[in-house]
């Protein structure tokens, strides 16, 4: 199913793999960790795109590159990032699926649960 998916969402699947793994991975190692039937070259292309965006580092290992997730403030110079936020931060907030707002009671509740989890 994933093989029919566009490169864009494939990119975040592969970045997920890089973040999950603590060590650099070659394209074939990434391929092993994806539960999808993908071509080696597709994985290589996507890794190359991540590297180009500054979301991955790469080092030469033998004949292939090994990629690891990289995030540093310097990589995201202002001109590389989207400038949609001034005019549409409201829209950004409404599009965010990861969280909703919290009141102070809920914040207390969450802190207590975090302590329990730790």
């Amino acid at each position: 199913m994933m093989s029919r998916r566009p490169l864009g969402s494939l990119e975040s699947e592969i970045l997920e793999v890089l973040w999950k793994s603590g060590v650099p991975l070659t394209p074939s190692e990434v391929l092993d960790r994806l539960d999808a039937d993908l071509a080696y070259t597709t994985v290589m292309t996507v890794l190359g795109r991540l590297w180009g965006k500054g979301l991955a580092d790469r080092t030469k290992t033998g004949r292939a590159f090994a990629y690891s997730a990289a995030v540093s403030e310097a990589d995201f110079s202002a001109d590389r990032m989207r400038k949609v936020l001034d005019e549409s931060s409201d829209r950004l907030a409404t599009m965010s699926h990861f969280l909703d707002g919290l009141d102070s009671g809920q914040q207390r509740e969450l802190r207590r649960m975090l302590e329990d989890l730790a």
């Binding site: 199913m1 994933m2 998916r5 566009p6 490169l7 864009g8 969402s9 990119e11 975040s12 699947e13 970045l15 997920e16 973040w19 999950k20 603590g22 996507v46 795109r49 991540l50 965006k53 979301l55 997730a69 995030v71 403030e73 995201f76 202002a78 990032m81 989207r82 400038k83 949609v84 936020l85 549409s88 931060s89 829209r91 950004l92 907030a93 409404t94 599009m95 965010s96 699926h97 990861f98 969280l99 909703d100 707002g101 919290l102 009141d103 809920q106 914040q107 509740e109 969450l110 802190r111 649960m113 975090l114 329990d116 989890l117 730790a118």
Partner: protein, 293 residues
């Protein structure tokens, strides 16, 4: 107004009520599908009821009846609904169509704003935000403040969560139920529930990917507690409880769906389909009768 207009409607209310109740015991993925199907069936049934009422009422007007060649003698001047009801329902139908049209238009506008997202994109923002962008290319937008606040495990949770949204096409369910709810505001709580359940679905899916429900719970709680300048201001107004209940659900044991609940679920869907068929039957009946010369 005769009872046969209302019977399918009652069936649908039973179906919606049970789907709401069932969702508590179902795995989030099953809950999303069950509720979405129920909402759509409820929407179709209600709209069909309006169409029939409108048609029946309007056809009371001699001019309309004559113009369409309907046999007035056959009905004895009574088509099942008074004229005023016909006019009112027709106006309501127009209003529903307008509201839904506006909503769809807005959805497409939002889509255009992030339509060029291709892959993972980092956005400079003080709001700790991440969201999936479905589309021909698709991708995930993450704000820099979220990225730098998390370690790599938590980052992979965020991505796994957003990837689940993309992989399972959650936006389709959400757009469907939200459009229905725009037309019929009574469906709004169901749309909210579907939205919440897609989040739960993505949470559980992420937990499977990273191999730990606790890690997902911790990440969600931590992200929600990150300071954000703008969002706090209007955060109180947003129907909260969402994040807290999501974390609670992740800490609690995984919901399993017992057989009798599944059977009950099937009967709910069958009830709803029956309701819709009954309604369609009425409409076909009405149209064929009306077409009689």
């Amino acid at each position: 107004m005769s009872a046969h207009f209302l019977l399918p409607f009652l069936l649908v209310i039973v179906c919606l009520g049970s789907a709401w109740f069932l969702a508590r015991f179902l795995a989030p993925s099953v809950g999303v599908v069950t509720l979405t199907v129920s909402v759509m069936l409820a929407f179709c049934t209600t709209i069909l009821m309006f169409v029939q009422l409108g048609g029946a009422g309007i056809s009371e007007v001699a001019f309309v009846s004559d113009a369409l060649g309907w046999c007035r003698a056959l009905y004895g001047g009574d088509h099942g609904a008074p004229l005023f009801l016909g006019v009112v329902t027709t106006l309501v139908l127009g209003l529903i169509a307008a509201r839904m049209g506006r909503h769809v238009h807005r959805v497409f506008q939002d889509r255009n704003a992030f339509g060029d997202v291709d892959g993972v994109e980092v956005v400079r923002s003080s709001q700790p935000v991440a969201f999936a962008v479905p589309g021909p290319r698709g991708g995930v937008v993450i704000s820099s403040s979220l990225l730098f606040a998390l370690d790599r495990h938590e980052r992979s949770v965020v991505l796994a969560h957003e990837n689940a949204h993309l992989r399972h096409r959650h936006h389709l369910y959400i757009h469907l139920v939200e459009t229905c709810a725009k037309g019929l505001p009574l469906l709004r709580p169901f749309a909210r529930k579907v939205k919440y359940l897609t989040e739960r679905w993505a949470d559980e899916s992420a937990a499977e990917r990273v191999g730990s429900r606790d890690l997902v719970a911790t990440t969600i709680a931590r992200v929600a507690l990150l300071p954000s300048s703008e969002m706090r201001a209007h955060s109180l107004s947003i129907g909260g409880g969402n994040v807290v209940t999501r974390v609670e659900a992740l800490v609690a044991p995984l919901p399993v769906t017992p057989v009798r609940v599944t059977l009950f679920g099937c009967s709910v869907v069958i009830t709803a389909v029956l309701g819709l068929i009954l309604q369609l039957h009425h409409l076909v009946d009405f149209v064929t009768h009306a077409g009689h010369l």
